[in-house]
Amino acid sequence: MRRRSSFARSALVLLGLMLAVPTLAADYKVLPGGRFESVLPADGKTAPAVLKPFRLRAEPVTNAEFLAFVKAHPEWRRDRVPSVFADGRYLSQWAAPDQLGPGALPRQPVTQVSWFAAQAFCESEHARLPTWYEWEYAAAADATRADARSDPAWRERVLSWYSRPSRQALPPVGGKPDIHGVRDLNGLVWEWVEDFNAMMTSADSREQDGADKLKFCGAGAITMEQKENYATLMRVAMLSSLKATDTTANLGFRCARPE
C-alpha cells in the first residue's frame, strides 16, 4: 500500500516536471533530404543542393517557449542582453523583460528576436537554426507533396501571405501540417536561418563577374536561378538584408537537428 502511494507520488512529480519544462517536449519531424533544386544553386550556376536527412521543429518557437528560455537564461532578457547580440527593439512587444502581456500571447510565434538570440535558444534545445537549404527544402512541401513549387497554387499561397498587411496581430502557431508534419513554414512569420549571411545576392547579378571579383573571393558569387520563383527570392532578399542583431515584428525562427 505504501509502495503504491509512493509510486503515485513519483508519477505525479514526473507529470509535473513534464508540464513545467515544455521546451523538452518540442516536437521535431524527420525530413529525408536528398538533392534539391534551390533558387540559390550551390555553385552559383546549376548545381543542386544536397541535403542530409535532418529533423525540423514542427512549429516556430512561441512566446511562451521563448519566455521559459529567457527565465532559464536571464542573460537573454531584453534588459540584460549586450547590444552586440540584439538591437534595441529585441522582445519589445513583451510587457516586461520576464512577462508576455497583451501584446504577446503565449501561442503566438515569438518575433523581435535577433539571430544570436535564436541561435542561443536552439542550443538550449540541443539544436541549431536550419540552414537556408534545409528551410527552403522544407517550405517547398504542401499537404501531399514534398515539392509543390511547380504548382502555381503553391506560389499563389505564399505570395498572398506576403501581401497581407503586417500590422494585424499574428495568428497563433498550429497551421495545417504539411506532408512531413511540419506547420507554419509559409504564412505566419519570416524565419531566421543559420546561414542568413551566406546568400550574397547582388541586386544586379551582372556586377558579379567584373568589379565584384575583389569583393567576393572564390568562384563567382551566387546568382539566383529560377527567376520565376520570386516568392522564394523575396525571402532570400529579405534575409540577405539582415544583420545578426536585427529584430523585426514579423521575424521569428524554428530550430533543426541532424537526424
Partner: protein, 185 residues
C-alpha cells in the same frame, strides 16, 4: 625609487581594474568563441582585450583575395606608423582544412611577424557566429572554395568596433587615420 614604486603600483592597480571591469555592451568580446592560433594555443576571443586590433577573416587555400586581405592589413599597419600596441588577427572561414599546421605554414609563407600577428581557427558553428558578429558574409561552395565578403575591422582595447573598411588591395586613408588615433600613433 619611491616614485617608481608608486608608479608601478598605479600601473598594477589600473591593469587589475581594467581586467576586472565588465565588458561594454557593444564589445565584440561578449561573444565567447575559443580561438586556436598558428602555434596551437587556444584562448577565448575575449582574451585579446587590452590592445586595439585589426580583425579580418580569410582562408589559406584562397589564392586571389585573401592574400590581398593579409597584405592590406600589413600595409595599414605600416601606413599607421607601425604602432607596437596594435594586434592583427585573421580568422579562417575554413576550419575543415585550416588546421594549426596550415595556419603556421601560411604565416611563414607570408612572413607574418608573430609579435603582432595571429592567424586563428575555431569550430564551424563559432566561425558562423564570428562572421555574423563582424558583419562578414561567406558561403562554402561545392568545390571546397568559399565566397566571402572582405572587410577589415578596427577594434578598440575593449573590443568595440571603431572603424571598418571594405577597401582591399590598397590602404584606406580614413581607416589608417582611425588606426593612428586608436593606437595613439
Amino acid at each position: 625609487m619611491k616614485r617608481l614604486l608608486l608608479l608601478l603600483l598605479i600601473l598594477f592597480a589600473s591593469a587589475a581594474a581594467h581586467a576586472a571591469s565588465p565588458l561594454p555592451s557593444d564589445s565584440l568580446y561578449q561573444l565567447s568563441v575559443p580561438l586556436t592560433d598558428q602555434d596551437g594555443h587556444a584562448a577565448p576571443f575575449a582574451a585579446r582585450r587590452g590592445t586595439p586590433q585589426i580583425v579580418s577573416m580569410f582562408y589559406t587555400t584562397c589564392t586571389m583575395v585573401c592574400p590581398m586581405i593579409i597584405d592590406t592589413m600589413k600595409a595599414t599597419r605600416r601606413a599607421a606608423g607601425e604602432p607596437t600596441d596594435l594586434r592583427l588577427l585573421a580568422v579562417s572561414f575554413d576550419p575543415g582544412r585550416d588546421d594549426v599546421d596550415a595556419l603556421r605554414r601560411y604565416a611563414a609563407a607570408h612572413k607574418l611577424d608573430l609579435r603582432w600577428w595571429t592567424l586563428a581557427r575555431t569550430a564551424p558553428q563559432d566561425t558562423r557566429s564570428l562572421a555574423a558578429l563582424l558583419g562578414v558574409q561567406y558561403r562554402k561552395l561545392p568545390d571546397g572554395e568559399f565566397n566571402h565578403s572582405s572587410a577589415l575591422l578596427l577594434l578598440d582595447a575593449d573590443g568595440r568596433i571603431v572603424a571598418r573598411t571594405n577597401i582591399i588591395g590598397r590602404t584606406d586613408p580614413e581607416f589608417v587615420a582611425a588606426v593612428r588615433k586608436a593606437t595613439g600613433g
